[in-house]
Amino acid sequence: MVDLKRRFDVLVIGGGNAALCAAISARRAGASVLVLEGAPKFYRGGNTRHTRNMRCAHDAATDILTGPYTEQEFWEDLQRVTGGETDEELARHMIAESKDILGWIVEQGVRWQPSLGGTLSLGRTNSFFLGGGRAMLNALYLTAEKLGIDILYDAEVLDLDIQDGMFLSATLKRGDADVSVRASTLVAAAGGFEANIEWLKQYWGDAADNFLIRGTPYNRGSILKMLLDKGVQDVGDPTQCHAVAIDARAPKFDGGIITRHDSVVFGIVVNKHSARFYDEGEDIWPKRYAIWGRLVAAQPDQIAYIIFDASVRNSFMPTLFPPIEAPTIGELAEKFELDPATLEKTIAGFNAAVRPGTFDHTILDDCRTEGLTPPKTHWARKIETPPYYAYPVRPGITFTYLGTRVNKQSRMLMKDGKPSANMFAAGEIMAGNVLGKGYAAGIGMTIGSVFGRIAGREAAQNARN
């Protein structure tokens, strides 16, 4: 039984990668630690459950990474995906710290493996968790338990007592009673608000009703909201998030990795008016997959269709939901209530614009369209081999970027710009400091582990003073 009457050195709210890294690092620094996970045990860990890799800088190839990925290259990738909307000092600090995480996380029981089948293009930059994100979580929880960290599940925090930027206590729902939990320091690692459709609607309007949430329904942003309401400075555009195009047949919540589609570069994408709206061949897929969530979100009714033909049917990873198949483009259109004549015209126009080239999906090849708007700048090949296929896709929200502003110590900053006396944040709840927009595969986990480790260490030290 956890003694809730005692005063803990460090209270960690959240139960994912960032929370556990913070808890472990605080405990290893000598602090007493309580972790409050709002979800039931099975759903513990928020989005970490669904992750598979982490992006860490390294100067040389390792057992599982095929080559070096320098801090500079990481920084350039981050600048490119965010369009420069990042806090350079924090981002460079994170990238530098990420090098050490490769070894540190293994000391916490997590195991690496080379990139998964079908993800070779990430083999140099991203380290994959053996057994996936839930295996990683299981390892971290085991380590936390062995270290004597107290953990509560179904531990919903109803309120935070914060005065003048100082955390005093949290009100915890236990059965029918509310309990006050006291701690010298707080680490907030409770994620974004992506599962809170009402909150999303404040910025997106009714379009948010058509969003699918890739993680658990527990990521409601209640801790983020309390912190922002109680004087913590916000960071990030509330409409920005990591969103990808996922199968429209996916469940509303927690469909995870298996509902995604990797087939965009092999075909074309049209909206409900059978019109193309973006260059499907802009860049190598892992560098570009994360823009498609927003692109689809901007389409009428937030729906789009990836259309391809039999010639590429087996060119990408098999999917959970099979593609819808039809012998002609017109019949394919009818299956989705698209206008057959318009879709036929779109595809005929696309086919006519395709220039001859040598197809190679591993490089930016020379297969492109000419005189078409928008163009398809690589991997453009005619869609003319029946049967024809389509996947319906919707925006799949992974996590939101609105968050709490922090400094290099992972310490929250208050609205007046002053650092909080004893409050730290890590993970998706503060990802907006680094990610102003855009996404690069595995970076959410980097933010979680790096800032989690820092937050735990700093909180432990803060508690001792």
């Binding site: 195991r111 493996q113 053996l130 839930r134 295996a135 927690d254 298996i258 990873m317 959970l320």
Partner: protein
């Protein structure tokens, strides 16, 4: 469409898993799955027999129950695996023995023991049966060596024929030409993988059993059981060689090779099955084919009894209990032999064959000619 409901479910799961692949580092099943985009009945039976039931993929899966995708690979493959044992049984008329395997094995074992006791009693008067016999040839006062060798030789031969026929059925089902079994590098790889139980370890940390904490207990006890069984078999083989080539008759003194091998093996075959049974008792029911628990338990108990009766015979062979204990031991061993093709024993055979095929597929993927 698949032949059975459980294969339908296995197909559904493999489709989920093939679009995820997080578990590919845990064992051989998922890499084998990734070599395919669609799954025949034979493919699924191959995966089912390749799966060692370590349970790691269940604990590591973000979609296992209570998630709505309800992904439970260990249990589904365990059921499909047990179904496949019955489907490959030879002769087909005996496949029903798998249906209530615990009961069937118990009855056969009891009948076998009873037959030896009645046989001994019928052929000898009380003085011989309950007499004290020592020195070379003591056992054969109760049953002539040639009769013993002929009976057990026949039982063993029958088991081998039935097992070979089962393997043939399995090999055909998974769609491999018969000649493909003879690929020495693949066989050597499979021997190493089976000998180390490479895939009974959750990708390196151990099996999950009663909760999410991995442990090596199942692997250790399986090693004790398997190598204990191997030592016992070696003991019998050495004794047979002694008998025919050197005309040295059992029982042998305690320091002699057959007794040393048999004793060491017997100890392994006591601790191993006891440990496996204890782990099975604790195991989370969600991971196992609960309807077939009897099959697993029956085989484990038979191995344990083989050792227990053998050890009892060793320690009490100079007493009046020898006759009864010999009948008991021979009865247990005889029933173990004749039920081998119709019980859990076959798991080792089919899994080994699946490992050979996996090794071969890996070699082909790596570009080696096979």
């Amino acid at each position: 469409m698949h032949g059975t409901k459980i294969l339908e479910e296995a197909d559904r799961l493999m489709t989920v898993c093939n679009s995820c692949r997080y578990c590919e580092g845990l064992c051989a099943v998922f890499p084998a799955m990734e070599m395919r985009r669609a799954f025949s009945d034979g493919d699924l039976n191959y995966f089912a027999n390749l799966c060692h039931g370590c349970g790691a993929c269940y604990t590591d899966c973000q979609f296992s129950p209570p998630h709505e995708f309800n992904v439970n690979v260990p249990q589904t493959l365990a059921i499909a695996r047990a179904d496949s044992y019955a489907a490959y049984a030879w002769p087909r008329a005996f496949s029903g023995l798998f249906a209530r395997n615990g009961l069937s094995i118990s009855i056969i074992a009891a009948l076998s023991v009873a037959a030896f006791i009645f046989g001994f009693a019928a052929f000898h008067d009380r003085q011989v049966l309950f007499g004290i016999h020592t020195g070379p040839g003591a056992f054969y006062k109760l049953m002539p060596h040639n009769a013993m060798a002929a009976l057990f030789g026949a039982a063993f031969l029958y088991a081998i024929v039935a097992l070979v026929m089962g393997v043939r059925a399995f090999w055909r089902d998974i769609g491999e030409p018969v000649g493909m079994l003879v690929d020495p590098p693949s066989i050597w790889q499979a021997i190493k993988d089976a000998g180390q139980l490479r895939y009974l370890d959750g990708g390196g940390v151990g099996c999950v059993n009663e909760d999410e904490r991995p442990s090596d207990l199942r692997k250790i006890h399986h090693h004790l059981t398997f190598y204990g069984f191997g030592l016992c078999f070696a003991s019998t083989s050495v004794a047979t060689a002694y008998h025919y080539f050197w005309a040295r008759e059992a029982p042998y003194p305690w320091w002699d090779l057959p007794v040393v091998l048999g004793t060491l093996g017997g100890i392994g075959l006591l601790i191993g099955p006891a440990g496996l049974l204890a782990e099975k008792w604790k195991r989370d029911p969600v991971l196992v084919d609960q309807a077939r628990m009897g099959m697993d338990v029956a085989f484990i108990v038979m191995l344990f009894m083989t050792s227990l009766t053998g050890m009892a015979l060793l320690f009490l062979r100079d007493t009046a209990a020898m006759g009864a204990l010999l009948a008991l031991h021979l009865g247990v061993v005889f029933s173990l032999f004749i039920t081998m093709p119709y019980g859990k024993f076959v798991h080792g055979i089919y899994r080994f064959v699946a490992l050979v095929r996996y090794a071969k597929e890996r070699r082909m993927m790596a570009g080696h000619p096979v």
